[in-house]
Each structure stands twice: as C-alpha cells, then as structure tokens.
Symmetry: C2
Subunit: 464 residues, 2 copies
C-alpha cells in the first residue's frame, strides 16, 4: 500500500500547536471545576450497546457507532435479519458494544453501578471524547470532546447558581472580557405554564418544538407551524406575546432588575398554572442569588422560549451563545436520569462545554495566550563532535533546572538547524565558535551573550 | 430496563481517587517529555481499517476492534461472505473504521500525512487510550492508556541516550528511589550477530523467539526448542554461552564498566559478523554517553537475549522491569515504520510507558503522594437559612482566592454533613452557632477557630 494515508471523515489529528490550545481550554475549565468542588471521573469509550440505546430516541440510536463483536460474529447473528438483509435488525446480534455518544448517559450508568461508593450530593466532572455518526460538516465532527460537570442527588437551586457562576468564571478567563456572550436561562416548568395558560397542554411537545425555532425561522413561520398543529389563532397570538418577554441583563449588575421584572411580568400573564408559577419561583431564586453574588463578564438573559430540544430536562435550562456561533455551552436539570438503570428519583443538574466550538471562537478572535514553556526553550546547536561533548552535560543540567532543552542530534548545516529553531519556535540558541568560546542568543535577536559555565547559561535564560 | 448496569469486560470506570493517581502518573511523564523537547499530538480513536491492518501480522489484526458502518451497511456487504457466513471475509465490507490498537501506527500515518508541515527530527509524545480485543485477565485490559514518545527522522544514537535518561527521570520521580527497577537494553543487530556466529542465520526468527523465553521457561526447555528447530547441539551450547553474557549495572555509576566489559566480551565471542559488531558499536556509544552523564536511580542491564517479540525493531531494544511485574515500559529503534504509507527510509526510535501497570506498582508499594488541593478543601456547613445567606459570599471569595470550596447545598443534619466531609476527604469545616458566631476547624481536629471576616478565614486556611 502506498496511497497517501487519510483519516475517517469527521475525525481530526491535533498538531502540537493545536494541542497546546486545546490543553489551555481543558485546563482552564478543569481548574474552575475543581474550585467548585467537582471531582473528575472517566468512563470507558466503549459501553454495552444496551446501556446506550433507547436513552435519546431513535434518532440518537442511529448516531451511535457500534463495535463489531470479535471472532466469528456471524455464528450468533440473527438468522432472520441476515436472510432478509435487515441491517437494523441484525446489529444487536453482531455488535454488543458501542462508543458513547455523550457523557451524560455513561455518568448515569456509573452513578447507579457505584451508588454504594458515592457520597451524595456528588459533584463530578468528566472531560472525554464522544462519538456520533452524524453527517460531518463545518464545525461538526464525528469525534469531539465534551467537558461536563453535573451535581447529582440534590434538589437545591444553589447548584444552578454554582453552574451559572462556573460558566461566567470560565468565559471570563477565556474571553478576557473581550467578547460579548450571553447565558440564556429558562425553566421547563415555565414552558409548561405558558402552554397550559393558552389551553393547549395536550400539544406541549409540538408547541415547544415550534417556539424553540423562533430565533431561526422567525415569528411568522412559527405561527404557520402552530396553526398547522391545530392551535387556534387567539392561542397563537397569546403564545407569541408570552414568548416575547425576553429580558436581557447586560454586564452591569444593576440591570438584574430587568430579568426579575421579566419573570414578574410573565408570572402575572400566565396566571395560576400548576407548573408555571413553580418554574418562575425557581428562576426567581436563582436570579436573586446571582444578583447578590454578582456576575463578572456574562450577559444574562431570561428567555421563556429556550427549550434545548425535548431531552431529559425537567427544570432549569441553560444555553450560552457568543456572536455568530452556535451554542458553546449548555445544560439543565433532569429529574430522572438514572431511572433507566433502576435508580428512581435522583435529581441532577449539569452543564457541558463544547471544547471544539470554544476552540474556534478563541482562534477567530485571537484570544490564545503565548504558550511559553510548552515547547523547547533552548536548542544546543551541533556543528562539531566537540559541541556534542561540551554541550551534553549542559543540556542535562538545564533539564534538571526545569528548562525544556534539546541538542540537534547530529552535526548539521547551520541553516538547517536555524530552520529547525524557527519552525519549532525555540527561544534560545546555544552555539560555539572555532576557539571553543560559547554563546547564547535569543532566536529572534542578533545580540550574542558569551558564557563559560552552565550556571551562567541558566542565569541568562532564566532572566531572559 | 432495571437490571443492574455493567460495562464491557476488560474496560474500567475511574473514580475520583483513581483519576487523581492516574493524572499524577500522566503529569509526571508529560513534564519529563516536555523537558526533553517533545511536543504533544493526538490522533483520532478511529482510523480507517486499511491503515491498521497488516501492520502487526494476522494476530494483531484479530485484536483490532472494528466499527460497524452506519446506516444500511448490509447493502454493500460482500455477498459471498454473507452467503457462506464467513465472518472474516465479511468484515472489511461492513466495517471501514476501527479503533487504534497502539499509538505507533497512527503516529506513522500522521507523519506521512503531515510530512510537509513537520520539522524533522520530530520529537512527539502522545498519551491516549488504545483498544485491543484481547482476552481480559488480571492486569490486561481491552481499553488502556499508552504514553509514547518517539523521535522520527534522525539516526543519531543521542536519541537513544535521551530516551534512557527519560526513563530514569520518570521512575526516579515516581519510585522516589524506593524500588529496584532495571532498564534492559539490547540491539537487534547483536541478536543477528549471535545467530550468525553459530551459523544459523536462516533460522533467525525462530531462534530469537526461543531465546526470548529464557527468563520464563529456563535454559533446558529453550535448548529442547532449539533442537526441535533442527539446531545442532554445538550451536545450541554456543548460543547459550553467548546469551549468558548479561551484564547488570547497579545504581552505582562506577559499575558501568561491567556493561562495557560485557559488550567487549560478546564482541570477541561473535567475531566478525556483519551486523553483530555494528550493534555492539552502537550500544557501546550509548553506554559510554550514559556513563559520562550518569544515571539517577535505574539499574541498567545489557541483555543480549532481549528481543521484545519480532515487531518492527531494527536497532536498539529497551525494556523496563520492576520486581514481580511484567514490563512497565519498552521501546526501540525501527528503521522503516512509515514505509507502509509510502514514505521510505525514515528512522525512528521511541518508548512507551504502560500507565496501567505503573498505576498498580505505585499502589502496591504505597508510593502515591497526598493529593492536596485536588478535591474540595473547605466545606461551608448548612444548618439554617441564615447560613446560606452568610456563607454564600464567603464561598465565592474563597474560590476567587484559589481555594476549592463548596457549601452543603441544603440545610441538613450535622451528622450527614460530617459524613460528607469525611468521605470526600475535606480538610476544613466552616460553621456557625446560634449566636451567629463563625468558626472554622480542621476536619480531623476538634479545636475550632473563631473568625468574623472572609479575609480572616482565608488567612487561617492558607496558614493551615
């Protein structure tokens, strides 16, 4: 085989530069998670297929990458499916394992499996790749990282407060107050209240799917969809009025009032619905606490249309957007995530940062710091066997002094070594002349410093 | 579904405690790699099946986990294989992708694919899970981490010196000079010289497989195997004599002489074989350099029987063992790794640390440090709505001061909160009394310190 090799569509290699940037994102998120008392876990890439299917609907099931059983897998294959060439029917008999497509389902499985060893409320974070057999397109990959934090086993709304503060802390650090981003917040119960108040409780799911599209397709098309669903015109109008009560809080803390006002307004509009007032009460608590504690750089927004699909959320719903990008972080509260695995009535709330999109946001806006100390800082050049002899002990002394260093491994032309320095972004170059005098210089400058002992060299480098 | 959930055989979940230990191992290795000028890359978990198969022989091909194509995969299935229920024959037509089973093959693919963007010699490290459809057993997993460092595009033996120094640096830090471990070193060319010197070059591979087992099955059984291969008795005896020239270097640098002596001895025994003397010359260079530079805690051993299977090694072979454990690190030089992908004559040399075995070695020997600051340091207890009000601003101030802290999210019984403190290994407990006086104490001590401002609290915690 001598074709140019390639990788599967929707997957990526990460070069050293890309890794440095990615690690910077992961490390920032990780540090904030830890400050908030979250502990890291990891689950295997492979789960039993039975653990994963049926948790997110048929559409999700099709997105799961299945792993072919080892050995003579056809031996146990479903005869019927095989005879009729029914791919869907055959899968479960030839693939018992699959790659997880998110970190939430494996976490729920972990909690149930290890419930006796876990101290609740359990604050866990998890940073791992996930796999989805999605159609690859710009910004959408088949293998990508999620950075999840969840608190499980506590109803307290203080957890919601923590998660919103975490989002503010992470993006304050990553965006350095140079980007405008908004944390939209809603509560599933408010959505229920809105639908109930217009007398269409039976069509809750369809209505939510429709109004979730307001941002994308606009009010007229949403109304058309609602009317097609059989919603009366008056109810449509009422719905649109309720949905318009969006209250943005700018970075100025004093404006928290507009969000609290928005809640109050909606509260009077939807009246005494069973769930609606409960949802408003919950968000009111969260907003009041945030008002007291303050927010660093985020814009907050109360958006009664925010639904984030029809997933497992039962309470708070959170989504973060930055100009021109799809969601970069999202989450919410779910009341029965572990039910599928036999553990009922355990409430959880969590968020997930989309590292790949954040990567692009930082790149587009030139917000990456200089990663000093991440790659080689000092190159000992090699033009002569005497260089090797003289520089080797120095090289190891520098490494002992926590300086990243290497020697060019063979005597080579100066130009070649300087190309190496340039492309590897090395900061300092050490060399000798014919009289065995030793010099060090910054790669980007011409001025050489003469030195004779290793200690002198370390001194020069550390003082830059 | 309410069966207790489980994970696939041979895979594992990692709890917070296990993650802290694993991260400690990864971070230690990573820090050393960086000091030596290595840069991190990552490749996808999924590669094209055609990239992976045929690189390690049929046995390796069977160890590869294949990923079932998405959608109606039977539509493009090999009709013949389907009709005859030939699993092996069918696989390639229904599974185009697979999980990588090591990091070396993906790295070779990466180098060829990105050759125009890479500056050679390229020092890369890679820390990722790999997957093998092996029979799971104690210490052998189907999903496990490898920590690889390779230098590609340089023949220089200084690279070998660096790699051995890296092994010494990593284990000096992890083992803290409390464990006896040995870096065994050989050179494939020496193995060739030995076999050539007894006149059995044709049977090189079989002989190497046999003498590789000397440690496991003993000299008598190896001789039996050799004789079964048709090796003459005299040649067997000569082989055994040559194989016995093992020269261990204890931690005392002065003993480097025994290894150099061993090489000299073997050199005179195998005479003027084509490859043998070249191999001896190479190892002699490496040992001389190491002698000058010194070794911290490793025992070094020249072992002319070391083969590490019949893989792709063509020069130096390295393996690290610690009492009672299988190999915890290994590697060597390979001259044509990228040939399969169309890039000829690129020499590489690398090592791989087996994180999972190192994990067990450290655990068995109680060598993990205390991971302070990794989990929650301070818990604000919650017994009263006034606690929430009073402690919330303090909680966030502590986090701003880089102290990991949390508040118990709901008012709960004291005992329940103390169990939480105990199981989460929290260091400090903050509480109030009925007069709203505030106290902080170490969780393991009884003495309480009264405080009134957040600054005082931070002061007490930072001074422990």
């Amino acid at each position: 085989m001598s074709n140019k090799p390639s990788i599967p569509k929707g997957t990526r290699d990460f070069s050293p530069t890309q890794m440095a940037r990615r690690n910077y994102i992961f490390d920032t998120i990780k540090a904030v998670y830890k400050k908030y008392g979250f502990e890291q876990i990891e689950t295997p890439a492979m789960e039993n297929l039975s653990t994963l299917i049926g948790t997110g609907g048929d559409e999700s099931d099709n997105l799961i990458f299945k792993i072919l059983n080892s050995g003579d897998y056809l031996n146990k294959a479903d005869e019927n499916a095989l005879a009729t060439k029914n791919s869907n029917g055959l899968t479960r008999s030839i693939a018992e394992k699959a790659l997880h497509y998110d970190l939430t389902v494996p976490f729920a499985r972990y909690v149930v499996q290890n419930q006796n060893d876990i101290t609740f409320p359990f604050r866990r974070f998890q940073i791992q790749p996930v796999w989805r057999a999605d159609r690859p397109q710009k910004g959408r990959y088949r293998e990508f990282y999620q950075c999840d934090a969840d608190i499980i086993g506590s109803d307290s709304l203080l957890n919601e407060v923590d998660l919103i503060k975490i989002i503010d802390a992470v993006f304050s650090e990553l965006f350095q107050d140079k980007l405008n981003y908004t944390i939209s917040i809603n509560n599933r119960k408010i959505l229920q209240g809105i639908v109930e108040s217009v007398g269409e409780t039976d069509k809750f799911e369809q209505i939510v799917v429709a109004i979730d599209k307001l941002d994308k397709i606009g009010i007229d098309k949403v109304i058309t969809e609602l009317i097609e669903l059989g919603i009366k015109e008056k109810a449509c109008e009422d719905l649109m009025v309720l949905c318009s009560i969006k209250s943005v809080n700018s970075k100025l803390d004093s404006n928290f009032e507009t969000m609290l006002e928005g809640l109050k307004h909606l509260s009077s509009e939807i009246g005494d619905t069973a769930n609606g007032q409960k949802g408003i009460e919950e968000l009111n608590f969260v907003f009041e606490k945030l008002k007291t504690l303050g927010i660093k750089t985020a814009n907050l927004e109360f958006d009664p249309t925010l639904a984030r699909g029809l997933g497992y959320y039962t309470g708070t719903i959170i989504e973060v957007k930055v100009d021109n990008f799809p969601s970069i972080c999202g989450g919410g509260r779910y009341d029965d995530l572990t039910g599928k695995f036999g553990l009922k009535d355990v409430s959880g709330v969590g968020i997930s940062f989309g590292a790949d999109r954040i990567y692009d946001v930082l790149l587009d806006n030139e917000l990456y710091p200089k990663f000093e100390g991440d790659s080689t800082q000092v190159l000992f050049t090699n033009q002569d066997p005497k260089d090797e002899e003289c520089f080797l002990p120095m090289l190891f002394a520098l490494r002992e002094a926590e300086i990243n260093a290497e020697i060019y491994p063979e005597a080579a032309k100066w130009k070649k070594q300087m190309t190496f320095v340039d492309r590897k972004n090395i900061e300092f170059v050490v060399s000798s002349n014919q009289d065995r005098e030793l010099f060090v210089k910054k790669a980007t400058e011409n001025e050489k410093h003469k030195f004779s002992t290793t200690d002198e060299l370390i001194e020069i480098i550390k003082n830059k």
